[in-house]
């Protein structure tokens, strides 16, 4: 094939048992730590060209003219493409609403929108040629918030909307609106002894994955294209790419290349169509790699949000009602905004029992950067606000904040505002009890007898800003509610192909799915499932590609549940087939073949009593069993557009945090000392991976509590800090000890009883840190991330 750096099969052969519940090690772990793992940006092909994307320098403008002549005349340039060069009538793409132009047409709607493409024999040549493209913009006023979006004379970000949300939104600059009404919030408010309200602001977070967008498109002899790319969902990409290229889906063959993190930021397309267009135009392989600066424009971010909440409670601490209004800024294109609205509204109540609610969530179209999927979307923003409200209520009632939460905590059987009953364990009160019961880290850890202050344990760290002066400790708690899997009636299935055969005298299983391994450890878990179900030691995980059916997205905490479920399901089918073969061959030799419950263990067919009936090698001989099946979780329903009623979610996920912080109250600097987490995971298929997910999610939540924010100029809608110099993510000195307490209360509806885990820790981490900073400073702090000047008031 001539491609280097593309993925090869991962052989996970091992003599150990390595089934589910064990902390088997990740096959990609050592390679990643030692720098040998091939990421999508490492791919190379003989004779390949380099693609470059020219992006808009303004946020909102009409394109008066584009002159590419000078760029085309540049030596080394093979192609320059604009909107006019798109080959078919399909010129837009999008996850749910196809509103995103492949290349800008007539108008740009946000800073950094792709306008033209260049392919050249060197990346620098491509970049310089792109700089020679002359674009004449006529600038338009920018829409940046709810007021400017819904003003009577507001320019429509998208004119002539024909999408399925257009009919029910109050204004064309609102992507989607989801109210949820249950009970009578006003009447319930009359019963409240205390009412608290607040307006909360959540800043724009970036996924900040370390491997920037990149891929390689290779034109094929049959007129199709082979695309190697780092993404989160191959088949969703395929569905959007093929029509723009004018190719049937079987002529766009996609293979997942090494993914350097995703966190939702790779759900939308980035360079996929662009590279294919250039490859098909030039007849040569084309590689596109964004640099860090471009990456900030190359993917959607977490929706910034304004949230208004009112809660009431009786004197004895029972919640009476909740009203909220959540305004999410979706930016210039819809991306995942409708789903973010669905999650924000349906999870806005948090893990609490409140019978009377009045909820509204909307997402705006603006000229800000497009926002879409990021770990815990919708639920993250809501959790930040409702947890602040819980602390306010507890303070108002002079109650302990944890006891107040426990008094109102949801449990199995709770009826949610959507009318859905929580039908699996919901140990919210227990999770809080566990984090609270943990011993606190010692006070003043920077003091070592007879030694200078250890600044690493202090706010400011090595910057040496305090030796203890002005430092106050604070403690805060939070707990969150997240859905698992795709919701609202989406057909959320996955596919797995499992093959069993004898290779080298040993039974071997091969698992082939299109699941995007983005670092979550799915490849480890699939091998574990195959070992458990098929009793083999050797499992080969094939590279993910579109030669097998869709696995759905690696997002929404769903892959172990859904693709893990599909692997289990296909393994079960393979096992049945193998047992059938065994019965045919050996059934007459032992009555247990007909009467006992049979298992595959240690390479053998055994009875549930442990008696060995046959060796798999003898059962299979030179035959291979090869089965590809789809698997679905329980169906969900859409939310009613007026009342928000409906069994919208598959499963719920819960985590609680206790944050301990030291705040330099004079300089406004924060050191998070410890972020203890307790989470129910149903069943830990790989305990080490579970811990890793919880620690990662916790850290990402910490980031948006104290530093991570994309700053957008409200006057120009331009991004002010598109670099790791000024978009800060936590370093090891910002990352606290994260003790993890894992509960395993099985959900009987899920494979192995497991619960999706990836997102819940991201929810509660942020509000726990904020609560701790409030506890240390006595400040209200209704905005995240907290900046030093918010604490010092300067």
């Amino acid at each position: 094939m001539g491609v280097t750096g593309n993925p090869t099969s991962i052989n996970q052969g091992t003599r150990t048992k390595g089934g589910i519940g064990e902390s088997t090690l990740r096959p990609d772990g050592i390679l990643k730590v030692t720098g040998e793992f091939a990421y999508s940006s490492d791919m190379w092909h003989e004779d390949m060209l380099w693609g470059h994307t020219l992006r808009s320098t303004v946020a909102h403008a009409e394109i008066v003219s584009i002159d590419t002549s000078e760029a085309l005349a540049t030596s080394g340039v093979y192609a320059v493409l604009t909107y006019d060069d798109l080959p078919t009538s399909v010129k837009n793409y999008g996850l749910e609403i196809q509103d995103t132009p492949v290349l800008a047409h007539g108008k740009v709607r946000h800073h950094g929108e792709p306008v033209a493409l260049v392919a050249a024999d060197h990346p620098e040549t491509a970049r310089r040629a792109a700089a020679k493209i002359k674009i004449d913009y006529r600038e338009l006023p920018v829409i940046t918030d709810e007021a400017s979006a819904t003003a009577p004379d507001a320019i429509l970000v998208h004119e002539g909307r024909g999408d399925h949300h257009a009919g029910h939104v109050p204004h064309p600059n609102i992507v989607h609106r989801q109210p949820i009404v249950r009970g009578d919030a006003d009447a319930a408010a009359a019963r409240a002894d205390v009412i608290v309200s607040g307006e909360y602001v959540f800043g724009m977070q970036d996924q900040a994955f370390l491997g920037p967008e990149s891929g390689l498109a290779v034109p094929a002899e049959d007129g199709g294209v082979d695309l190697y790319v780092a993404t989160q969902w191959l088949h969703s990409d395929l569905r959007q790419i093929a029509p723009v290229l004018g190719l049937p889906e079987d002529k766009v063959r996609m293979t997942l290349s090494g993914v350097g993190g995703a966190f939702g930021g790779r759900e939308d397309l980035s360079m996929q169509i662009h590279a294919c267009l250039l490859a098909l135009r030039t007849g040569k392989p084309v590689k596109i790699v964004y640099n860090r600066f471009e990456s900030f424009f190359g993917h959607v971010h977490r929706h910034p949000a304004k949230l208004w909440y009112e809660h009431g409670a009786t004197r004895d601490g029972k919640l009476t009602h909740m009203k909220c209004r959540i305004v999410l800024d979706g930016g210039a294109y819809a991306s995942a905004s409708p789903a973010v609205v669905g999650n924000a509204s349906s999870l806005s109540v948090g893990p609490y029992v409140i019978d009377d609610v009045d909820i509204e969530a909307i997402a705006l179209y603006t000229n800000n950067p497009p926002c879409g999927a990021m770990r815990g979307f919708g639920a993250v923003q809501a959790c930040f606000a409702y947890e602040a409200q819980m602390d306010k209520l507890a303070a108002e009632l002079s109650m302990d904040p944890v006891e107040f939460r426990q008094l109102n905590a949801m449990e199995q059987g709770t009826l949610l505002p959507t009318g859905q009953v929580v039908d699996s364990p919901a140990p919210v009160a227990e999770l809080l009890r566990r984090v609270k019961a943990r011993p606190l880290p010692p006070e003043r850890q920077w003091e070592v007898a007879g030694e200078p202050a250890d600044v690493r344990a202090l706010p400011g760290g090595l910057s040496n800003t305090t030796h203890g002066e002005g430092v106050v400790r604070g403690i805060g708690y939070a707990v969150g509610l997240k859905n698992v899997g795709f919701s609202e009636g989406f057909d959320d299935y996955s596919t797995a192909r499992v093959r069993m055969e004898v290779i080298g005298g040993e039974p071997v299983a091969t698992v082939h799915t299109a699941m995007a391994e983005v670092g979550q450890g799915g490849v480890t878990v699939h091998a574990q499932i195959a070992r458990t179900e098929l009793g083999v030691a050797q499992v080969t995980i094939r590279p993910a590609d579109t030669q097998v059916g869709s696995a759905g997205s690696t997002s929404a905490s769903r892959q172990t549940y859904v693709t893990g479920g599909a692997v289990k399901h296909s393994c079960e089918a393979v096992r049945e087939k193998v047992l059938e073969m065994g019965r045919r061959k050996f059934g007459t030799y032992h009555p247990a073949w007909a009467t006992a419950e049979l298992l595959l263990e240690g390479g053998k067919v055994v009875t549930d009593g442990g008696e060995v009936l046959a060796d798999l090698v003898d059962v299979l001989e030179d035959e291979a069993v090869d089965i590809e099946l789809e698997w679905r979780h329980r169906p969900t329903e859409a939310f009613d557009l007026r009342t928000g009623q409906g069994n919208g979610h598959v499963q719920y996920s819960f985590a609680a945090h206790r944050a301990v912080v030291e705040v330099d109250t004079e300089l406004g600097l924060v050191k998070v000392i410890e972020l203890a987490c307790a989470q129910d995971v149903g069943k830990a298929l790989n305990p080490l991976s579970v811990e890793g997910q919880i620690q990662g999610g916790t850290t990402q939540g910490l980031g948006v509590a104290v530093m991570e924010e994309i700053l957008v100029d409200p006057k120009t809608a331009k991004v002010r800090n598109p670099s790791f110099t000024d978009y800060l993510i936590p370093t090891i000195l910002d990352t606290p000890t994260i003790p993890v307490d894992v509960l395993e209360l099985a959900d009987d509806h899920a494979p192995y009883g497991l619960r999706g885990i990836g997102e819940a820790p991201t929810l509660s981490s942020t509000p726990a840190v904020l609560a701790a900073i409030r506890n240390a400073t006595g400040l209200e702090l209704n905005r995240t991330p907290v900046r030093p000047e918010h604490i010092t008031g300067t």
Binding site: R456, N464, L669, P788
Partner: protein, 296 residues
């Protein structure tokens, strides 16, 4: 872009004389970032890495002569006693990898107001050894920074070394950033006690168009310490004096609002750092150093 690689210092001077637009590069921790982001396209890069002497230092009677390319990690490891302020500043520079590459010569050449070394150099007292084919001159650090990312070097001059006064008393350095490591300064403050001359010197980073000393604050404090007999009595500095010093230091700032912080926060933070670094150095001077010097 031409890449000039002189093997000896004299060749470097000749190259710089011939190509005054050539940008010297050593660790590359500033220059390469600028080039990679296409912020600048110098005609010539003048690579100083082959000139070994630039990575050496000499400890003299009065001064340390620090070669322009001595990496920050060496300053931290080897010059803590002689240059405590600069060693503390070096500790706050970026990451270990960057500290192994970058050095003070680059910080001076770039002359960014956010350069971590500047406040420490200003507080300690230093001279920049600038040289061209025309000869050598010593530029006092106070006169070196001439504007935002501008310095007093002539187009044909290169920085060969910086001569920094050996500490004759305690020194401190503080930097505010919005994370606990690997961060560009929102603002920074350096302070050095000079018991031999009974003076205090300061340096402020990232809170004015150039690195500056808080001269009024220094003068006030020098007078107050003298009048109160503090140098001899070694008693605790009266809180009102410390406060006045901090206020004057804050007043020496001329900051801007930017993505990293607001002007008013910078002013406020410089005041806090001035008070704290004065407290720490004075405690050391009084003989209680062990409990107040920041360690890492």
């Amino acid at each position: 872009m031409d890449f000039l690689r002189p093997a000896r210092w004299e060749e470097a001077l000749a190259a710089k004389a011939e190509h005054p637009t050539a940008v010297p590069i050593a660790g590359g921790t500033d220059v390469m970032v600028e080039i990679n982001f296409d912020h600048r396209r110098p005609e010539y890069l003048l690579d100083l890495n082959r000139i070994g002497e630039l990575s050496e230092w000499e400890v003299g009677q009065e001064n340390v002569r620090l070669g322009a390319c001595v990496p920050y990690s060496h300053i931290m490891e080897h010059l803590r006693a002689e240059l405590p302020g600069l060693a503390l500043a070096s500790h706050t520079v970026a990451s270990p990898q960057i500290r192994n590459r970058g050095g003070v010569g680059g910080n001076l050449g770039t002359a960014s107001p956010a350069g971590d070394a500047h406040p420490a150099l200003l507080a300690a007292g230093a001279e920049v050894e600038a040289e061209s084919v025309r000869g050598t001159r010593m530029i006092p650090i106070d006169a070196f920074y001439t504007g935002v990312k501008r310095n007093a070097l002539a187009p044909d001059e290169l920085i060969r070394a910086v001569h920094i006064k050996k500490a004759d008393g305690p020194q401190q350095y503080s930097k505010v950033g919005t994370r606990n490591a690997m961060v560009i300064a929102v603002c920074a403050f350096g302070l050095a006690l000079h018991p031999e001359t009974r003076t205090v010197r300061t340096g402020i980073g990232s809170a004015a168009p150039t690195p500056v000393r808080a001269k009024e604050a220094e003068e006030f404090l020098n007078a107050a310490l003298e009048e109160g007999g503090f140098w001899d009595s070694r008693t605790i500095i009266t809180p009102s004096i410390a406060k006045q010093f901090a206020d004057l230091a804050a007043g020496a700032c001329n900051p801007i609002d930017d993505v990293r912080g607001t002007a008013s926060y910078r002013r406020h933070a410089v005041g806090i750092m001035a008070r704290r670094t004065l407290g720490w150095t004075w405690e050391s001077y009084r003989g209680n150093g062990r409990s107040t010097e920041g360690a890492a």
